[in-house]
């Protein structure tokens, strides 16, 4: 069994209202010096069997279409050892 982690984040130029709200809240609870927060999503996939080249390519394809919207988001795919 393999574990694949897909991180999806809003592109830097896209507004992240949640992140902005969190910056405000961090100030209120006394954490100083936080200039920016971005909130992303993390998908942890449990996959039966091995993740070979072909499978990884397929996962990358799915990350680009299903798990993220390339118009506003970037993603990374990592196979966890």
């Amino acid at each position: 069994m393999a574990i694949v982690v897909v991180d999806v984040a809003l592109k830097p130029e896209i507004l992240d209202p949640q992140g902005r709200a969190i910056v405000g809240a961090l100030g209120r609870v006394g954490l100083e010096g936080v200039s920016d927060v971005r909130q992303g999503k993390q998908f942890v996939l449990n996959i039966d069997g091995d993740v070979d080249e072909a499978k990884l390519a397929q996962i990358n394809e799915i990350a680009a279409t299903l798990l993220s919207n390339p118009v506003i988001e970037d993603f990374t795919v990592q196979v966890r050892p």
Partner: protein, 230 residues
Amino acid sequence: MTPRVGVITFPGSLDDKDAARAVRLAGGESVSLWHADADLHSVDAVVLPGGFSYGDYLRCGAIAKFAPVMGKLVDAANGGLPVLGICNGFQVLTESHLLPGALTRNDHLHFICRDQKLRIENNSSMWTSDFEVGQEILIPLKNGEGGYVADEVTLDELEGEGRVIARYLELNPNGSRRDIAGITNERGNVVGIMPHPEHAVEKLTGPTTDGLGFFTSLLSSLVNNGKISA
């Protein structure tokens, strides 16, 4: 004397005017409380209204619990002040640990707005005393994260102590554990409920007027406790 019931407005609160209207229709006086004002203005009870406080960003109710007014409210609630949290208000109460458990994303992943049937399970809390146990009521429900969860021990404890105040009937609209729609603390003064009694107080705009019972219950409880003379 007319009981004074505070309604807290956070940035992003939406059903605050409705809660105030419900308080008035039940015969109370509504008092607006502002999130940034660390003062409860000597009210006799407080309603935390529905809505999207702070946009519901991060987690519903998570940012609101740090509002200046909440510090005062937590102390007062621990001291017996009646508090009703509706929907987002319920989320604020669990985040503030005035009530156990948490409210999570609806199991079907959609926001849902529907007329929901409930069974009242407890009429000894300060907000449910005018109901009969077993009474069925119909009030609006509208939420995206209304699934009540808690660990088994907590759930058993809530059941054992009769602290589930209302349960969903016919359809569990959000995947709540054991069909729980609302709970109370041990003392019965703090109640959280996911559906919206304040939207069922007028025949014209609600499916029923069943929601009024929560607000009239409070007024009766205040009188019975001697807080307010009849």
